[in-house]
Symmetry: C2
Subunit: 220 residues, 2 copies
């Protein structure tokens, strides 16, 4: 069962009405979301606070609504999204930290954030991101705008925040996998620009694992 199905079932059980949800962005298995936005229409008269607690009560621990509010009747979580921010979390150390294994990608080799940041600069702006896109969904136009790629290091933890108007399938994970190659010294930063211009998935780096990725925020 998908997260969407779980929420729809909880809503139906609570309200007694079949309810279809729309999520702002899909997430692969293993990818997390702290800032997912979901819209739905209902004929139920249960107030938002009642839906919040009623649905949460019916969901397993791994899924939860953080807030529920009434929107204008034509609000559509996916179509109305103007942008998204994803965060990819890396644990940069040479021994495991089991309690973080589900939410981070552990990279043993020391990573040079300065090199990674220089490589990332080549990706900022409006580009065709075909080289960083996997098959798996119909993307149509491959041009996207990446507004920001920010790096934060806190001890062994490295967060890569990627913000843009929208993302192709696996795009953030493919960008991260490629930037990690740069950070390890396996790839000079300007190579990332060449990869981008090639518009060929085979030239860029491998996808970073799903578990480190989290949808943090959707902009409207």
């Amino acid at each position: 069962m998908t997260i969407q199905q779980a929420i729809e079932e909880a809503l139906a059980d609570l309200t007694g009405v079949e309810t279809a949800c729309v999520a702002a962005g899909r997430t692969d298995a293993g990818v997390h979301a702290r800032g997912q936005v979901v819209s739905f229409r209902t004929t139920s008269t249960i107030p938002p606070r009642g839906i919040l607690h009623g649905v949460n009560h019916r969901l397993p621990e791994a899924i939860g609504l953080l807030a529920v509010e009434e929107a204008s009747p034509d609000f559509h979580a996916q179509r109305d999204a103007l942008g998204k921010r994803y965060r990819y979390r890396i644990l940069n150390r040479d021994t495991p930290r089991p309690l973080d294994a589900r939410t981070t990608w552990r990279v043993a080799a020391p990573l040079d954030l300065d090199l990674m940041s220089r490589a990332a600069d080549h990706l900022i702006g409006i580009h065709d991101f075909t080289s960083f896109r996997n098959h798996g969904s119909v993307d149509g136009d491959r041009v996207r705008t990446v507004r920001r790629i920010g790096f934060t290091r806190d001890g062994e933890r490295i967060d890569i925040d990627v913000e843009g108007d929208g993302f192709l399938y696996r795009m953030v994970r493919n960008i991260t996998g490629t930037l990690v190659l740069v950070g390890r010294g396996a790839l000079p930063p300007p190579r990332v620009r060449e990869m981008l211009l090639a518009q060929d998935r085979r030239v860029a780096g491998p996808a970073a694992p799903a578990r480190g990725l989290c949808l943090m925020e959707v902009f409207y």
Copy 2:
């Protein structure tokens, strides 16, 4: 398979020698450990660093060695332990935070740390902790020394650090469950002293769930 068995199997596979491990403290299913200490004897000549990486390579993501060092031949992780520090993590908010569900206990009712701290003061020192002990292992003498119970609040997160010379079965979880009753206003702080003196498990509060507990440090 227990964590101990997983480590023993990995050691046997790496070194080619059957190896028995001793852990400083047992942890119930669902309880975590960041500072567990394990001792073992081996005839293997693999250096500590080789054991560290070789064993980690053979363990699932959920278990990991943080460090390996040579000890004196008579070192025994359990018998030589002089004390331990556990941390119990509470998430004090009225909606779920799924990514923390495995490692925290979510308490919806607002908790008053000042009341909890006053209640905890009654537990500091050398006491018979029968009222906070569950059946489940042979404890013998029920007298333990609790050196410190510290509270830290960071936004919605409350950490309760409990340090002592040793702990009876479920003692930290039973103490936490009782302190949460106090924090919600359901129990005045002096009641905890009466509970302690009663030396009767039935008078104290219920155990807090396993998932919020973590063995942080073992003192030698």
